[in-house]
Structure formats: C-alpha cells, structure tokens
C-alpha cells in the first residue's frame, strides 16, 4: 500500500509538471502578453487612443512622390494618407506609423524624406488639430485590406494603445499606371 501511495504521489507530481509545461507552452510569450492595445476605427472617423485622436481623412496611391524638387520613385507603390491628429490631455507626438497588410506584414513609414507629423517631430498640443499627409511604401502586390497603424511610442509599443484604421484601397498597383508624381501636404493647423 505504501509503495502504491508513493507511486501515486510521483505520478501526481509528474502530471502537475506536465500540465504546467503545457499551459506555459500554450500561453503567448512575454511580448505577446504585453502587446499594444489595438484601437480600431473606421476610415474618416475619429479614432481615440490613450494619448491622441487620429482621423484618416483621405488616401491615395502614387508611383512617385514630389518632395521639393526631388522625385522619389519606389519599387512598390506609395500610399499617401491625409491625417488629422489631436493630442488629448497632454502634449504628445506620433512616433510610429505603419501599414499592415492582410498577411500581417508591416511596412513602416518611410524615412527617405522628413515626416515630422509621424516621426516625433511635431508636438501636438491638447485640443489643437493638426492635419497633414504621410507617405509609406508597400509592394504593388500587397493584397487585401491595408491597415494604418499609429502610436505615440517609438520602438517599444507594449502596454500602450495603437490605432488601427483600415484604408479603403482597392488595387494599390493601379497607381503605377499613372506616372504623375504627387506632393505630400506638410502639417498645418486645422481650425474649422
């Protein structure tokens, strides 16, 4: 009886350890547990994150950008999004902008020219709306819904909110058939 009880105890310990390992293995990793809180909203509407409110006002695709006198081409296609941004209670800045495609691939905002609206350079004061355009490069073959991601954090987005706004782009590659370069609107105050 004593031997059976001892064997039972060992089996119980093994079962508990196995269950613990199975639970641990099935849980998301640390970064997954602390991933940003998605705040999803429709295109053209205010989407409110912890520190800011963002509205994607317009979107278009282009084969080339005209930045000052320079023409910027791309191996893919430029997605130009017009944004309206407002800080909520404290001064903040948008430090992260990216597009995520249907496959989950993420394309961050280009650093080929200065984009202060979403590169941390523009400090947003509470209640004062700032509007401007940003440009991102995606492959012309990018399919499905493209989603714009915005955050006030630079690299570490864990445990903070991130806006997710689906962009109404049917065929990103269609822009390649129009060779006209497009300009990117600089940030300006919106008072109406």
């Amino acid at each position: 009886m004593s031997r059976l009880r001892r064997l039972g105890a060992v089996l119980l310990v093994v079962a508990v350890l196995a269950a613990g390992h199975a639970i641990g293995a099935s849980l998301p990793d640390r970064n997954g547990q602390l991933r940003p809180f998605p705040v999803t909203g429709d295109f053209g509407t205010d989407v409110t994150a912890r520190e800011f409110t963002a509205r994607a006002v317009a979107v278009r695709c282009a084969a080339e950008l005209k930045i000052g006198e320079a023409i910027l081409s791309t191996q893919g296609v430029w997605v130009v999004v017009r944004l309206r941004l407002t800080a909520r209670r404290e001064v903040t800045s948008i430090q992260y902008a990216a597009i995520r495609d249907a496959e989950g691939r993420v394309y961050e905002v280009t650093d080929r020219f200065e984009q202060p609206l979403v590169a941390g350079g523009r400090r947003l004061q509470p209640g004062i709306r700032v509007e401007g355009e940003i440009a991102l490069e995606v492959p012309a073959t990018a399919t499905g819904t493209l989603t714009l991601l915005l955050a006030a954090t630079f690299v570490d987005h864990r445990m903070d909110s991130m806006t997710e706004i689906p962009l109404p782009i049917g065929d990103a590659g269609a822009a390649l058939r129009d060779p006209a370069a497009t300009e990117v609107l600089a940030p300006r105050l919106v008072t109406s």
């Binding site: 209670r89 404290e90 001064v91 523009r122 400090r123 004061q125 509470p126 209640g127 004062i128 105050l189 008072t191 109406s192």
Partner: protein
C-alpha cells in the same frame, strides 16, 4: 492524505498554518510582479507643490510667485513684424517671479494647465516663427531687470479657443523630477 497523527489531528489541522500562509504569499507574489510597473507609474505622476498663503511657492531651493497668465496679443516675428496665431487658437504668456537663495537658479521647464486639466508645453511648434523664447528661469533671460534678488521668467503657450488657463507648472529637472511648483491664478 494520511490519517490522524499521534495527536489525533487530521490533514487540515496539521497544515492550517501553511494554508493560511498561502494567502499572504500570493499577495506578496502579486505585488512583487507589479511593483516595477507600479513604481514607474507613480514616479511618472509628479506631485504639485502648492503656494503658501502669501502666493509664494518654496521649491527647488528657490521661491516662485505667479505674476500673470494673459493672452499674448503683442507677439512679434524675428524680423519684428507682428505675429498672429490662426483663428481658433489663443496664444498665452505666463510670467512668474523668482527669488533665488543663491547665485544659481536651476534650469526649469514650464507647462500650462487649463481648467479641464489639459497640460500644454512651453513654446509650442505653433509659435516657432514668433520671437518667444522658452523659459529657462535664468536671471539673464529675465524680461525685466533683476532687483532685490528677484527676477522674472516668461513662458508662451497656445490653447484652443475657449480653454481657460488656471495655473503654470514649473519643474526643475536637475533638482526634483517627482514634484513641480504649481502657480495658480
């Protein structure tokens, strides 16, 4: 589970203290797991130091007193031409007096607080083309000559029209990041 021991105690009675210890152990484990985040969050929320009855705030080795928070309607560009802010936006100038106990005054940063609790930065991007320097609290940057050991600092802000400024917050980052002097109107 074994039966009663030599004293006649069952499993629950033999292990009662161990079971009771589980509760504080879980509490301690939970607190330890969130302590770092809690501590960081608390440190990220600086506490205000309010003014005494005479309107002065003792903070960071200096005394501070609000002189005014008023619309800045006389801003100039760097070429001395008038600077105007867009419609729907109001520029504000906050002036406060500083009485230092020694020759040095720590570098300060200044924020504006409105009645809704919103907090604005000194010298925002909206005033980048205006001749409105950031406040430093240094005697050399005083808008009026120092007298009797006192000088002034001026800070400039913008708010949306309709916002009602109620106080400025002065922080001496090199002295105390956990608190700020709150100079209310």
């Amino acid at each position: 589970m074994r039966g009663p021991d030599s004293l006649g105690r069952g499993w629950w009675r033999r292990n009662v203290w161990g079971l009771l210890a589980v509760v504080p152990a879980f509490v301690a484990m939970g607190y330890a797991s969130i302590y770092n985040d809690l501590d960081r969050w608390e440190r990220g929320e600086p506490k205000p130091v309010a003014a005494a009855a005479d309107g002065w705030v003792d903070f960071g080795g200096v005394r501070l007193r609000l002189v005014e928070i008023a619309p800045a309607t006389d801003l100039k560009r760097f070429n001395r031409e008038p600077f105007t802010v867009p419609q729907g936006i109001v520029a504000w100038r906050a002036v406060f007096e500083i009485q230092a106990s020694g020759p040095e005054v720590p570098f300060c940063s200044v924020e504006l607080e409105d009645a809704a609790g919103n907090v604005y930065d000194d010298r925002p991007d909206e005033l980048s083309r205006a001749d409105a320097d950031r406040a430093t609290c240094a005697p050399d940057d005083s808008p009026v000559p120092a007298a009797s050991g006192r000088h002034q600092a001026a800070a400039y802000f913008v708010t949306a029209a309709g916002a009602e400024p109620v106080a400025v917050r002065v922080t001496f980052g090199s002295v105390d990041l956990a608190r700020y002097a709150r100079l209310s109107r």
